[in-house]
Amino acid sequence: MDILQYIAPVFSLEVMQVIALGTLGGMIIGALPGLTATMGVALLIPLTFGMEPVLGLNMLIGIYIGGIYGGCISSILLRTPGTPASAATCLDGYPLAQKGQAGKALAMATIASFVGGIFAAVVLATLAPQLAAIALKFGPAEYFALALFGLTIIASLSGDLVKGAIAGLLGVLISTFGADPISGTLRYTFGVSGFASGFAFTPALIGLFALSEVFVQIEKILVDRKADVVKVSGSWPSGKDLRSSVPALIRGSVIGTILGIVPGTGSGTASWIAYNETRRSSKTPELFGTGHMPGVAATESANNAVCAAALIPLLALGVPGDVVTAVMMGGLMIHGLAPGPVLFQTRPDIIIGMFAGTFQATIFMFIFGMLGIRLFSRILLIPKRLLVMSIVAFCFIGSFAINLNVVDLYTMVGFGVLGYGMQKFGFSQAALCIALILGPMAESNLRRGLLQTHDNLVDFLSGPITLVFLGLTVLSLAWPLIRGGLARRRAAAANTTQQRVLL
């Protein structure tokens, strides 16, 4: 059988070793803030120059999958998103760790990453050419509508609607800093050439979530000396936790897979949307954000589903699904292999080898993750006053490492102060983060589309996919009202039945 003949080499000791090493390395890279999966893959491409293509590419896949998973470790334990993909995991993972359930949260994240990764890998191996077509359906209008839909998350995530809207709009405003996407004009750079691309995203995120939390912790330690060490207990989610997380896992995997196929959206967007959809359909939405297992399950299954799914348009069409796969495409080109439909016919060994490697890397990720949980969570046994100091050091190193640009350090500190202020006054940091991710996508696509339709809004927004997303946007905004109405009607109905029974 042909397929077996191509799969067999991937299960040789040599290839498995490389994938295992790549995955482990990826996990470390992902867990360290500032070292992202993108950077890991890019920096190791030269190592693959001399390797067999299947060997080299599978190492990169291992780093990618390990890297996206690794981000959750520091998100959960330290509220420091190791990669932007894991920012949403901070929301429920960190409160869980603070409640002494770090092990459980990490185990849930590992299970979720595994489920999401395997789901998307199955889709990749079986339906890649059929589904890849979705990637090409997205033009400026569709991206704009998708971004708009994503922005509605802000309304449902932030408890106080007015404060949430303020945080969201502030995020959109901040995201306009730097070069205008359509005309190239510099906006709000105040003559500082280092800001020509606006605020760098990862340093902003590190400041917003990690540095601000450091300030909060320092304040706590000053007030209460006893709050110095967090308990660490339990490393397996209870049956109840697992059962309640099943719908979240399914939602996260499906949303991650679909958004992974759509180029240019990436794991950050997918994990926020998955988080929000899970919360919206939950019977206990008020528990999200306080340390709720399904919250972790949704975000982590979504961001790891994106990994394998982003390979779908890359391999089937030669169109990278996100930044990491774009870098990986460079890795393929070096070997003289241009991804696309032609490669399926000329080098099926490469394609099938990469499919098999994706499964292997996901399995290795699960094994290493599970084995590492006890070790990782011991970080929390370090007294907080020492821990926060090393987090501060990592905030600086991580922010600088990403672009080696000094102004990124100012960005990080600025966002740290901003984040602290937002926490103090009850503004949602999540809302600001979502706006930073989706603001540029909404702006550039709206303007690009209007340029193409010569400022005709009706022409711009009339495609079927666009209309579906716009419909979802309206529904998403109206959902709290609808739900309130339904609940009242049900309560009223229950009342009348009760009265009847009484009568």
Binding site: G184, T185, N403, N405, R448
Partner: protein
């Protein structure tokens, strides 16, 4: 020996060691090459291949590639040009940041600040017709452009970048009215092109090759002065009657004021690297067009393109817009 004396001695040794090194012992430590683009892109990968081959030609010649992306290449280029001129910090010099960006006014450097060391090669440009485009060759495209002024939408990799200015220059040379549509990077634009969301796209021969082979896009014309091997059937604009060529380039640059001997060592070393058959074959495998030119010829090329671009940018009303 008193403690002061030994301190003074130590200090002198430190100063001597840290001061400008003579060529005989250059390089004594790794040379940093700043790439003003993201890791994994064409320039970054070229620089890494270069670093690999450079070792062969210079004793102890380790190159560390440092990616400093942002601002369309302006941030990293500025860092390279404002580095200490001791030969240990160099940069890759590309057309966009050197010949185009200073005209918009947002950069803190100009061509006069650049010490050109040696050119590495070309980035050729190719125009492809997208899915469902109402034309399938150069003549049909020109007819369509003349009949529908301002309707022909051509994607490019970024506003004010080389691909954008190239297509504006083409429109000027051919006297047609086109609608450039800027995207956030080449791959985003190519995706839109494959999906038929634009009519045509400025691309590179290597990026477009798999899509041209699978028939997803149609090569329309190559922006060089003669046809290239991978696209034997694709004409140049000149063949189609439009006097237009455009190609980007890249090479190694440094800040002005390098010690004479260090500069000479570097020039020789990069000449040897860029003409090394090993370097050339690795680059060609990746779809790059290697051509070595010495510092003076490299400067002349940059100045010519800078003047050309200045006119186009002035016509667009974008000259000095970021001052």
């Amino acid at each position: 020996m008193s403690i002061y004396k030994s301190l003074a001695l130590g200090f002198t040794a430190l100063v001597a060691f840290g001061g400008p090194a003579a060529a005989a012992d250059f390089p004594v430590r790794p040379i940093q090459v700043i790439v003003p683009y993201s890791a994994g892109g064409g320039t970054d990968l070229s620089a890494r291949i270069m670093a690999d081959v450079f070792k062969k030609h210079v004793d102890g010649g380790t190159i560390v590639v440092r990616d400093q992306p942002g601002g369309g290449g302006a941030i990293g280029t500025s860092a390279a040009l404002h580095a200490r001129p001791d030969g240990y910090t160099l940069g890759t010099g590309s057309q966009g940041p050197l010949a185009l960006l200073p005209h918009f006014g947002g950069t803190d450097y100009s061509l006069d600040d650049v010490q050109f060391i040696g050119m590495m090669g070309w980035n050729l440009k190719l125009l492809v017709g997208c899915k469902d485009a109402p034309f399938s060759n150069f003549e049909e495209m020109m007819d369509y452009a003349r009949d529908n002024p301002g309707q022909l939408q051509i994607g490019n990799s970024g506003a004010g970048g080389a691909d954008h200015i190239a297509i504006e220059a083409f429109a000027k040379a051919a006297d047609v009215d086109l609608e450039p549509v800027p995207f956030n990077g080449a791959s985003e634009g190519m995706t839109a092109c494959l999906g038929g969301h634009i009519d045509a796209m400025t691309s590179t021969p290597s990026e477009a090759l798999p899509h041209a082979q699978s028939g997803a896009v149609t090569p329309l014309f190559i922006m060089s002065d003669k046809r290239i091997p991978d696209y034997p059937d694709t004409p140049t604009a000149i063949e189609g009657g439009v006097d237009f060529t455009w190609a980007s380039w890249k090479g190694i640059i440094a800040p002005k004021g390098l010690p004479e001997d260090v500069l000479a060592t570097l020039k020789d070393a990069f000449k040897a690297t860029f003409t090394d058959p090993d370097f050339v074959s690795k680059m060609e495998e990746m779809g790059e067009f290697v051509e070595y030119r010495d510092g003076d010829a490299y400067r002349a090329l940059a100045e010519r393109d800078s003047n050309l671009a200045k006119e186009v940018i002035q016509d667009l009303g974008m000259y000095g817009m970021n001052k």
